[in-house]
Symmetry: C2
Subunit: 275 residues, 2 copies
């Protein structure tokens, strides 16, 4: 039975899994779960992932969710996957675990998480403290997606992202990308951590070009590493990100129109340009 | 060269690692890094863990941080560790990864994290938005530790914890603890995930007994599982938690005195009893 991948290409961990399958020649069927259409809450999908989050996989009778766990599973169960993605050597492997755990507790907070929309909708809109809850969402949801979809946004989350994101990018640049190789941990070939973290950072493409460059340009190694990871996973990286690139184009045009035509739009664009 | 474990027993992931070493007869030297005394920021410790967080290990020349990664490393490199802690079977192993990832993104937000003190102190006290930043800290830091140590606290974090913690406990009770065995994933013996998550929940022992019971008593399976994990790791569980139990005793006495003797104390105890 073919591996089934339940994914929304707007979600960064979903894209990491789709690219991983494609670059490694893993046969799979992609089943789209549109988070913004709340398809993750259908009883059918809850049978797949009771947490109502994407991505999830079903491999034969085996169900799994959480993207890092899925990447590890796919690397271990497909003999065609090259060792560098998830090395058998315990010292190399454990460093990847450490990096993926860091991703959870640092970078993932600073960039964006489409599942935040999910969590946000899952709970009561009326309670003020949900504005706190989505603080962990970071930048993109609150400056771009929430205003775009008419959902409540939270300027404090932007402030939080302002603090966490540069710090995380700086740690990537100074610490995780030190060493001789061009990939994380100084490796000369990419691992599941490179794919997972680059897809996270790609979410920033939703921002205006100016803000995107303002955020990322101080981090030269990060910029080069994004390019190297794209190249190492070509042509699938761009293919899977096409949904994001198309949306980005539309969003940037929309932002431009807003900032020109309305006072509210003008105010919003100040939020972006504050970054 | 003996394994070195850099830990603060007030920190739940540190306790998980110390108990794991003891129950599995792993020879190690414990080096105390007192987070509240900011010892994680010394240049010597930054050589061990540039993130200035506990726990970290040094095994020969190999340095590692992030507690889940450390537990996996210790399970894989010590032949005496029984398979149930981190099974070789990829299906069982991957489910543990999924659960540990869930821990990162859900439960860890709802309970407490001594490293939040760390992060909090690491950045600028003066900025208001740091009150947002520590929203991820959850309950214990803001209701107990911050007032106790005269650090700024954030009532919104309590609101967030009110929302996340019961939801996470409910998922533990209904989903992760379903199945025939008494441990997570329906296993009949504990894994690194049981140890990691129970140590997290133990942080709630800092609360008043009344609040502790109010939070946990609806979750019968969770309560039984805490007991089972304690028993499975006796006598080390209690030995390593002794620091916490002693502090708990002092804190509960302090809270009682405060609520009796001062109006401010009385107000504070209302915050606790709201839970």
């Amino acid at each position: 039975m073919t591996l089934k991948v339940y994914a929304d290409r707007f979600s960064q961990p979903c894209r990491a899994i789709l690219i991983f399958c494609k670059i490694n020649g893993i046969d799979f069927e992609e089943i789209t779960i549109e988070v913004l259409k709340l398809q993750q809450f259908t009883p059918e999908y809850k049978e797949i992932n009771p947490m109502s989050e994407v991505p999830a996989i079903v491999d034969g009778g085996f169900k799994l969710f959480e993207s890092h766990a899925i990447l590890i599973y796919l690397a271990c169960t497909n003999p065609g996957v090259a060792d560098h993605w998830y090395p058998a050597d315990i010292f190399k492997r454990t460093k990847i675990h450490s990096l993926l755990d860091w991703h959870h507790s640092h970078l993932r907070r600073g960039a964006s998480n489409s599942n935040n929309i999910n969590r946000f909708l899952d709970v009561d809109f009326e309670n003020d403290y949900l504005n706190d809850f989505i603080l962990v969402a970071g930048l993109v949801y609150n400056t771009i997606l929430a205003p775009l979809y008419g959902l409540p946004s939270n300027p404090r989350a932007v402030d939080e992202a302002k603090k966490i994101l540069p710090k995380s990018l700086s740690i990537l640049d100074d610490f995780w990308l030190q060493g001789s190789g061009q990939f994380l941990l100084g490796n000369s070939e990419p691992s599941i951590a490179d794919l997972s973290l680059v897809c996270e950072i790609m979410q920033l493409e939703f921002l205006s070009e100016k803000d995107y460059l303002r955020i990322l340009s101080p981090y030269k190694k990060v910029l080069q590493w994004i390019k190297d990871t794209k190249n190492a996973t070509a042509p699938y990286f761009d293919e899977i990100h096409m949904t994001l690139f198309n949306a980005q184009k539309g969003i940037r045009e929309h932002m431009l129109t807003q900032s020109v035509s309305s006072p509210e739009g003008g105010r919003k664009s100040e939020v972006y340009s504050e970054m």
